[in-house]
Amino acid sequence: MEPWLTAFNAGDSQAAWDLFAERYRRLMVATIKRLVPDHDDVMDVFSTACQALSANDFARLKQYSDRSAQSASVATWLVAVVRNLTIDWLRQRDGRRRPSIPATLSPLQHEIYAAICIGGHSHVEAYEVIRSRGGSPMPFNEFLREVREINRLAPCSYSVTARRPVNDPPPAEASQPELDPAETAESVRRLAAALASQPADVQLAVNLFVVEGMSAAEVARLVGWSNAKAVYNRVTRALAHLRTHLEREGIGRGDL
C-alpha cells in the first residue's frame, strides 16, 4: 500500500496529504501543462487543484481510498481528477472572459458560440435551441457554415478532447467535406437513432473511433475486442448498416 494511503487509513489526513502531494505533484503539474498552455495559469490551476483535493477533509482522497483495494492506480485516477479540475478552472476563467468574445462574431454567431462552446450542446441540439427561441428559420446547412466560421474566428477554448490542444477546433469541422445543401437536422437525428439501435459496444467503438479520433488499437483495448482489425471491420459494418437503414427511411446520399 502506498504510504499516503497507509497514513490516510490510519486517520492522519494531513500526513497523508503531505505524502500524496510530495509524490504526485509532478504528475499533477504535467497533466495541467498538457491542458493549459500558459505557464502562469499552470500554477494557478495547480493551486486550485490542491485546494480541491484537500477540500472537505480530503473528500476526494477518501473517495479513492475507500475503493483502492481493487481500484485503478492512483496515477490514472489522479490524471482524471486533475483533468476535470482543470476543465472546471478553464470554464470559470472563460466564464469571466465571456464578454470578450471577439467582436467579429455576429449576434447569431454569438448565440451559437454560447450554445455549443459554453452550453456543451451538439450542433443539432444547438440548432434546435436557437430555432426554438424564435429566430429566423435558418436551414441546418447554413447553421453548420456558421459553426465552421465560428471555429475559424473563435474556437471553443475549453474543448479538451482527444488529440488536440485546448484551443484547436474540433476536427469534424476542420476536415469535413462541404456538406450537401439539403442536409437537415432531421437526417442527423435519424442517423443518431439508427446508431443507437446498434449494440452498446459497437456504438461506443464508432463514437470513440469516428468522433473522438481514437486509434483503433486503443478502441479495441477499451471496448474489449481482440485487436485493431476487429475495430476496422465492425465499425465499417456499422456504417454500412447505418447507410442501409437511412436509405430505407428515404434519406439518400444528398441528405446527409
Partner: protein, 268 residues
C-alpha cells in the same frame, strides 16, 4: 492505378484520415476509381453526420462514471459486470465518452506517461520496506538468511565474493552491490559499493522511507561521503541504490537496500 479495389475497412480508414496523403497507394487508387470515390464520400458523409449528432451531454443508461470508475475502465480492471454496465453507459453518454477520450489522450502524452512511470516505480519500491515493517521476527529471520548466504559465499570464495579493487578480485560482479551501510547502523558517513568493470560512472540515490529521493550524486569512485546538510531520521528505514553506466546510455543497477540509523544516534 491498382486493379483491385481496397477493402471497405481500408477505404474507411482512408476516408477518416487525412486524404492529402497522395503518395499512399489507396489514395492513388481512389483518385482514379469512381466506385471507390463514391464509397469514400459515403463514409465521410456518415462520419460527419455522426459527429454532428454527437453531443457532450449526459445520457445513457445508469449513472455517469466517476473518476475512479473511469480510471478502472481505462486500466481494464473492472470486473465483467461493471465493465458491461460502463460500456452500456458510455455508449449513450457523450459527457463520459469525452472524459474517457480525454483521459486516454492525456495518459498517452509523453511527459505525463513519464511521470506515471516514475510514480509507479516508487509505488513498486516499498517491498523492502514492507519486510522491514513486518516486525522484528522477520528482520531476524532475514538477517539469519543473509548470514547463511554470506557464509556460503565465503566458503566458496574465501577471499570474499568481491573486493573493491576489481583488478585483483577473482570474481567480478556485472552489477554494483551495496556494501555499507546495511541494516541497523550508527549514523553513516558515506555509502560504499562494489566495483563494476569498465564503468564510466556510478549514480547513487538515497531514498526516504516513503520512496522520495532524498539525495543523489554521480561519481567514478565506489564510495561517496554523505553531505552534512543531509538530515537522516533515526529509527526510520532509508533505502539506497547504485547504478553503474557501463556504456553510452546503458546502466545496470543494484538492488535497493535499506539501512536504519539506531535510535539515540544524533540525526544528520
Amino acid at each position: 492505378m491498382t486493379l483491385t479495389c481496397p477493402s471497405q475497412p481500408e477505404l474507411l480508414l482512408f476516408a477518416l484520415a487525412d486524404a492529402s496523403a497522395a503518395a499512399d497507394p489507396i489514395a492513388r487508387h481512389v483518385a482514379e476509381c469512381a466506385s471507390c470515390q463514391v464509397r469514400v464520400a459515403e463514409f465521410r458523409r456518415l462520419a460527419s453526420g455522426i459527429r454532428a449528432s454527437a453531443s457532450g451531454e449526459v445520457g445513457g443508461d445508469g449513472e455517469c462514471l466517476d473518476e475512479v470508475a473511469l480510471a478502472e475502465f481505462v486500466e481494464g480492471i473492472a470486473d465483467v459486470g461493471r465493465r458491461e454496465r460502463s460500456i452500456l453507459h458510455l455508449a449513450g453518454c457523450g459527457h463520459c465518452r469525452r472524459q474517457l477520450a480525454s483521459l486516454v489522450d492525456l495518459l498517452a502524452d509523453h511527459s505525463i506517461a513519464g511521470e506515471v512511470r516514475q510514480v509507479e516505480r516508487l509505488r513498486d519500491r516499498p517491498a523492502p520496506r514492507r519486510r522491514f515493517l513486518a516486525g522484528a521476527g522477520l528482520i531476524a529471520a532475514a538477517a539469519a538468511a543473509v548470514l547463511i548466504v554470506w557464509t556460503g559465499i565465503m566458503s566458496l570464495h574465501p577471499s570474499g565474493p568481491e573486493t573493491r579493487d576489481s583488478e585483483t578480485s577473482p570474481i567480478v560482479s556485472l552489477v554494483p552491490r551495496p556494501l555499507a551501510p546495511l541494516g541497523d547502523v550508527s549514523r553513516p558517513d558515506g555509502l560504499l559499493w562494489s566495483a563494476v568493470p569498465d564503468v564510466a560512472r556510478y549514480r547513487v540515490t538515497l531514498f526516504t522511507n516513503d520512496g522520495q529521493a532524498a539525495w543523489q550524486t554521480t561519481t567514478t569512485d565506489t564510495f561517496v561521503t554523505l553531505p552534512d546538510t543531509l538530515r537522516l531520521a533515526t529509527a526510520t528505514p532509508h533505502y539506497w541504490q547504485v547504478k553503474a553506466e557501463t556504456g553510452f546510455g546503458r546502466w545496470v543497477e543494484s538492488e535497493l537496500v535499506a539501512f536504519t540509523i539506531r535510535r539515540g544516534d544524533a540525526p544528520r
